[in-house]
Symmetry: C2
Subunit: 543 residues, 2 copies
Amino acid sequence: MRGYSFYERASRAFHQYPSLSKLLVVVTLSGGGVAAYNGAKPFSTAYAESVKGECEKKKKVVVLGTGWAGVSFLKNLKNPSYDVHVVSPHNYFAFTPLLPSVTCGTVEARSIVEPIRSITRKKGIDVQFRESVCYKIDADKKKVYCRSSQDTNLGGKEEFSLDYDYLIIGMGAKANTFNTPGVEENAHFLKGVEDALRIRQSVIDCFERASLPSLSEEEKKRILHFVVVGGGPTGVEFAAELHDFVTEDLAKLYPSVKDHAKITLLEAGDHILNMFDKRITSFAEDKFQRDGINVKTGSMVVKVAENEISTKERGTGQVAHLPYGMVVWSTGIGPRAEVVDFMKQIGQDIALIFSKADKNKSGNLNIKDFQEVVDDICERYPQVELYLKKKQMKNILELLEGSQKKSVEVNIETFKSALSEVDSQMKNLPATAQVAAQQGAYLANCFNRLEECEKYPEGPLRFRTEGRHRFRPFRYKHFGQFAPLGGEQAAAQLPGDWVSIGHSTQWLWYSVYASKLVSWRTRVLVVSDWGRRFIFGRDSSRI
Amino acid sequence: MRGYSFYERASRAFHQYPSLSKLLVVVTLSGGGVAAYNGAKPFSTAYAESVKGECEKKKKVVVLGTGWAGVSFLKNLKNPSYDVHVVSPHNYFAFTPLLPSVTCGTVEARSIVEPIRSITRKKGIDVQFRESVCYKIDADKKKVYCRSSQDTNLGGKEEFSLDYDYLIIGMGAKANTFNTPGVEENAHFLKGVEDALRIRQSVIDCFERASLPSLSEEEKKRILHFVVVGGGPTGVEFAAELHDFVTEDLAKLYPSVKDHAKITLLEAGDHILNMFDKRITSFAEDKFQRDGINVKTGSMVVKVAENEISTKERGTGQVAHLPYGMVVWSTGIGPRAEVVDFMKQIGQDIALIFSKADKNKSGNLNIKDFQEVVDDICERYPQVELYLKKKQMKNILELLEGSQKKSVEVNIETFKSALSEVDSQMKNLPATAQVAAQQGAYLANCFNRLEECEKYPEGPLRFRTEGRHRFRPFRYKHFGQFAPLGGEQAAAQLPGDWVSIGHSTQWLWYSVYASKLVSWRTRVLVVSDWGRRFIFGRDSSRI
């Protein structure tokens, strides 16, 4: 009989403070993903209590957000033994991959949305929806604080709080501006339906503004200069859509100003679509060049003024000023303030875990202890292992090198920074709808089979205690990614590095997206929108 | 050889100061109609100059507004010898009779609009469109002053002026609030596409707000109390649409609050739809009663506060206060400020006409002289005669009775007030799309055949000078009117007092409206919207 080893202590720390595990799930939030959280109690303990004490009272699950993760959770949840409360500022789910199409009217906004209430209505589950924003999560009291998302005064009753037994965070992310000055004020983002509608209006506005009499050629050119910042899939798709809109539709209606219209795509890296295969990248760059879309790579935006965008060449450091009429910012996403705040709350727990692991209270862990802690994480969260593999790190030690060179001990700050390194790097799990949807479905499945898995756990063997983990860990399955390039052409990168480019790929894109839509209604509407566009073109009414 | 008779003087006055005629046409503006104006010169003189002097320089026609009248003018104008400039804050034409359907998503907003540029593009006519508001008309300098309708700063270049040879005013009307306090601030109107979209959002907002936790039953009831002010065709159609939306769609999605929803229709008169046949009125009242729509007739709104609407019973004078969640104001329309200002400008001319007619400069016309002036008006403007007939006045004298009892002479103020009486009463020409569209087409036809009619005038014989008037006067041809009543039922009143009510009339309504839509695109979209609604219901996503 030996005393508690460090292994056991560390393992216990994780069981008693599963918040660290939350930290590692929360990271995927930046990709619109999901985090499940059930307060300071491990999942199993909470469940045990529910079975033990309040058999009749349903456990309350609060879902924050109705994006891909939240809706995928709701759609897949089949276990009626929960009382589900959904809080989101939008009373609908939006099929975000079609947002770039909405910006130019190829597809109507209403065709890609479905009310949450109609998604949940037909399920035999108690689901309450509140059109509200969650502005604060209190992990200690297991409470979320919410406020009606309408600008309304109900004498304080527009604010309310909800207790939860389980909290599911799928609030999505916000656009990452890298604190570039002027972006918030002057640029459009492309995160939600409202953004897409605003961009659509703004494009028409530019053409109408340029058609006013008494403007100089110079001014017309400026007004019709559309700048897209970020050469990722969204930026590229938007630039392509805009090009088609201008050449196929607007040029006919605005013949006097059409020659002034210009699209510039700014990318800080060496190539656009750099997460895709090189064949796709070079096809896209060639196509854009033929189309007259001005692609400027190695160009970092340093400031967005009201009518001018300033860029810095990565090579030469030269600063250029581009007058513009409209700018769309699409350089990636970052976590929301509420989630950052929540992460801080659970971040406190890191100190506790550390102190648990820090046997002699020296304020330092030795490297071996630290590695053992992280090994435990890897076991539970296969993504971390994948990440280490991807980075070709043999072990966790190399992760520390960025923070602390070859030190023999790890102090609490290094511990935190190494974990936040994993956190930030874990964003490499693609920040896509696919990931979020799979996470939501995984989580719903866990809730669906909770009783069953409690009795017959199906996860991997536990090393440090007996038995198995209840659930198999989440594994992301990549089904490939599309990059529509305009002119009825698209590129697709499928698993196994299969690459497909051209008109046939665009048809593949049509069929995949039509099949993935959330309801038959949206499916019919989107397909009829596509048909309408083929026949009548895109509408340029400014509504 | 006799000297100039009064007849001749009066007639000359009208030729030299055709502004009075404008006054009589402008009146129909309140119905969304049209006024043609060519400065201080009579049509013929202006035309003569154009032929004589600047053969190559095209005459400039400025069209203000792209409502029914303006667009009907543009669609029917075929004469390429004009340089047409269109100024409107909206770059599209909206098929307004379907606006009530847009408020509840039966039809999508984009399905009922068509860009002005695509309407004019295929015509072989020079048409320039400016998305701007006209804020001032200078009749003396023949100039309109405009400003970009976007909230944009172009260093002053967002403002511009346009000279015109002919000015066509089709700016439409604004909702008439009768200066009831709080209406502008708290009520929705239903004049344009934006209004309809706002109402749609607002209905959903009310249901979402009522679904917040921690509200009392009382508050839920208030929030879901929808008040429609005005029992005319628009108010009735909106109430019916809203009732269908609530019972057919929202009740399913908001089961916990659906029983709180209530619709009240307030009408100051004795009956709703009082311009229709009594059979229609009583059918509508009965149907609304069965549907649970609360119709309160004889109820005048005296104040609209933020959450409460105050009404006064016409009979008893009793004041009641109704808490409400949303109020739609639909009591009719009045002229816009710019048009009122313009009418004041041309109103000055009345003094000139008066002084021309006032032979002995006494400041008074005798009744006989006055009647002769008005006879001339009646000849040119058959509506005035219709009006007199309708009012069962034998002659113009009775018109004066309101202003001046049995006096023998008419002073300038009485002259003005009698004409403004005609003006205000002429609003009895139905304030409908039908009237405006016919006026626009009539005017386009005048422009199309200007050369021809100059040579071969086809109008009625001139009494006081030789020859004929160039154009036959405008005559409104009434094709009947619909009143959709919800639940797939409608009422129609056709010429000759034919009345049709029921489901078959709704189908007649569908086919008439589909055929009247402005383009094949809108036709296809509206019909597919109807189909979509039958299959999938109305969407309640709050976008």
